[in-house]
């Protein structure tokens, strides 16, 4: 029983590339490696065949540990989105306005990808709108480098 509360504030983020992803972090390295070759890959449990998103060490459905990264179509539907006009981090200053979104994958709508809608009129977005992946660099003001990432456009 998880009675101890989970609201520790352990310290500042010291990684200089924050809020770029750490493409070397083992749990998600394959995700970013896939994006670098224009491929959307999602972990699938070797035990039960279900997608395991996020890639936790143990499958919440069958408790198996091993999983494999498999390519998916990159098609999905728009589950929800917001239009951000206030930069919550200084690194987001050059980004606003932008449209963070959750996309439900066609292969399993229970898998919701946090992503960004691009090349679209925010007023024309709609729930369950068919969308398709496009790979775009993530970059932030004052942060060196950029990382190709799966973003989405209306299909």
């Amino acid at each position: 029983m998880a009675d101890e509360q989970d609201h520790r504030i352990e310290g500042k983020i010291t990684r200089a590339q924050f809020p770029l992803p750490d493409v070397t972090w083992p749990a998600t390295a394959e995700f970013w490696a896939g994006a670098a070759r224009d491929e959307l890959v999602i972990p699938r449990c070797d035990g039960c065949g279900r997608f395991r998103w996020y890639p936790k060490p143990e499958c919440p459905a069958c408790a198996a540990e091993p999983y494999s990264w498999v390519p998916v179509s990159g098609r999905g539907t728009l589950f929800s989105w917001v239009v951000v006009t206030h930069p919550f981090l200084p690194q987001f200053a050059d980004l606003v306005p932008f449209v963070p979104a959750l996309v439900a994958l066609d292969e399993d709508p229970g898998v919701r990808l946090p992503t960004r809608m691009v090349d679209c009129d925010p007023d024309a977005l709609a729930f369950d709108l068919p969308v398709t992946v496009t790979f775009r660099p993530i970059a932030f003001a004052g942060v060196d480098g950029s990382v190709p990432a799966p973003m989405f456009v209306p299909a």
């Binding site: 009675d3 101890e4 520790r8 983020i13 963070p100 959750l102 229970g110 973003m151």
Partner: protein, 400 residues
Amino acid sequence: MTTEPGSWGYASDFDDITGQVAICGVGDSDMSKASGRTTQQIVGQAVERALDDAGLEPRDVDGLMYVGMPEQFDVAAFHEHFGTDHDIWESRRGGGMTGAATAPYYAAEALRTGRARYVLNTFGVAWATQRGEMTGGPGETHAQDLFKQNLEIPFGWFPQPVYFATIARRHMHEFGTTEEQLGAIAVACRRHANLNPAAVMHEKPLTLERYLASPKFVDPFRKEDCCLISDGGGAYIMTTPERAADAPKRPAIVAGVGLGHASTGTHWAQQPAFTSTPAVFSAPAAFRMAGVTPADVDLFTCYDPFTIVTLMQIEDSGFCEKGAGGEFVAGDTLHYDTGTLAHNTHGGMLSHAYVLGISHVVEVVRQLRGEGTAQVADCEIGVYGGYTGPQCSTLVLRRG
């Protein structure tokens, strides 16, 4: 698109502690924007006031509860503040958020076994003062999560206003909830704050028209949909109902406690019941223990980081059907005098202060005594709903 309870979370299996714990004293600190005070100074002030309220001396406190966050008021801080050195039972299963509701559950055993006679629960923050040092302000705790760092934040899905605006938009789609309905929650809390001299937003009125005219900074949210960032804290003192009968003030009796969990934690994007909270697990358990139904409740306070979180907790706690929350809160339903479900009568985190729920419990006790600044008529049963995301808790208090 709701998910069957049980498939995405569960309730803690709590023993029945109804009638075993009473709250005999409450206090809160001055509430403010950045004050330059430390958390311990803030909580120390709240504790002094709670002791006065209970008619107790510092050395009477032999139990202390808080939550495992930095700078909380632990035994060392207590002794430093009051110049005492006596033996004190200590537990980290208290504090604000969900702990403000569940602390009495864990205090019950200490009181029953005689390990402690008077158990103090406290919480405080100096987040308005510390804001500039934190990544995304109170988003700091989320920024530490490596899955968020690598799968959410790079896309700009961060911090809390973005998460909950995403949930609000989906709730609007699934159930037809409107901006006017979310606004009704903000307006009710503000009206209560306008009546409460201790509220940070005491002098700032808010009408629905003004709410709707306010710009959306994370569409569909306006700043009025979001809680304040504050310096402040609170405290309450628990004992047995027998000892509480001798206290100067009328006690509040703990009638029911529940704790619900969501298996997806703070990864809200992956929560199957995206537009629900674990109050669907905690509330029925607490009401069952208390032997009351939502219809018996005179005052519902809840942890209100965003208007949509209030709306979902009202639904999930059973005050209306799931999805009917928007219609339910519209108009003056939540107002202390003309409404049918008085809500956050001190102003809540939206308009009183962002002290993470501890002041909600303080307020419920005051209301049960008839000491509210927006006093609910004949307030007999008061509820606090705690929330962290991964957990919801429900505390049912009745007038002693």
